[in-house]
Subunit: 219 residues, 2 copies
């Protein structure tokens, strides 16, 4: 957890999830946490995904195969429970404002984040999701297919969502990403698309995520 300099009023908080092969202290999380602390007066918190970071007993390169073993429903339920526990823990802290919470997670951070956002309901103010879709990437094990879960969970989401698409995503076909955006139940959903492949995140995209969160965490 990262916090701004102590202030008198309670802090909003951003839940930061990392992508596949990343971990909770990755550069993206550090950069975002620093920005939210200094520019938005918000705390941030990150946790490791399944088989990642401090929870990886073996090299994370193998994580898809490892998720397939228990089955993706079980892994997803576990990660949703972890995020709900994290939400419970951080909003119970002195100095944190429990009703000003945002979620930000792309790619694997959407694999698990989308079901979490659905489960958290109105405990969140907004979410930034994307880089995932309703088409299986080539080579991804069938056992970790998220489509049934997304089909059930996406329509349940009603908080504002900023959904990010890399227009030339070589892993998650664009049409599947647009289909996932379509499924979201949020009246205030918004799509942003940028040229480039899966991992080519433009600084303007990061700026759009940050501003979206800052706006929704405002008083």
């Amino acid at each position: 957890m990262w916090s701004p300099e102590p202030v008198d009023q309670p802090l909003p908080i951003v839940l930061l999830d990392h992508g596949g092969s990343g971990h909770k202290r990755g550069n993206r999380q550090l950069d975002l946490a620093r920005w939210f602390a200094t520019e938005a007066g918000a705390a941030s918190v990150a946790i490791d995904g399944p088989y990642h970071g401090d929870r990886a007993l073996e090299p994370t390169a193998d994580y898809q195969r490892r998720m397939a073993e228990p089955g993706i429903e079980k892994v997803t339920d576990g990660m949703v429970a972890d995020w709900l526990a994290t939400l419970e823990a951080v909003t119970g802290l002195d100095g944190v404002e429990g009703d000003r919470v945002a979620y930000l997670g792309l790619s694997m951070g959407t694999r698990f984040g989308l079901p979490f956002v659905a489960a958290a309901g109105s405990r969140l103010r907004c979410a930034v999701l994307g880089k995932f879709g309703m088409q299986q990437p080539a080579g991804m094990p069938a056992e970790i297919d998220m489509r049934p879960r997304f089909a059930a969970d996406a329509p349940r989401i009603t908080v504002p969502v900023l959904f990010h698409v890399q227009w030339d995503d070589e892993l998650f076909p664009r049409t599947g990403q647009l289909a996932l955006f379509d499924l979201l139940g949020s009246p205030g959903k918004q799509l942003i698309g940028f040229s480039g492949m899966h991992a080519e995140t433009s600084p303007m995209a990061v700026e759009a995520w940050r501003e979206f969160v800052r706006r929704h965490l405002g008083d």
Copy 2:
């Protein structure tokens, strides 16, 4: 033309085009021009589209039929020439900085704006386009089909473009709008999509247009 309070340094300028049935002094133009003057230190200029505003001899409701008479190529060439003349005129003014110019026009402002942005080339810093596409809306006369022109002009555009899509656009089918975005030659193109029908422009969309222009007009 709208200008900020006089300052010492030359002003950037935003070319504002209106949508179908609108005119150069519409509320959208006034609101944007006021914001650019007060928040971005930029001047703005608007002109009437063909058969609109002071150039409408008959009610503008008939404008599509009127454009069909001379043929859309001729009308488009005329409007592109008008914008090029406007660009030439305003960038020749004392106090205007000729190499910090942006274009902003949606819907009919993209019908004519996209060919203008292609023609203006590097004389523009960036453009905000959208709410138009590569599928003919139901009921639009075949004589005013923009597809051949767009297919030729969109790939020629290389300046950064923010392309706006209303996700539930009842006039311009979404897939045609996405196809038009695909055709744009700009390495720095970016798509934003918002729930809602053609005319339901979210305040967050307007904010995205403004910030995109402000960023690209920066020193």
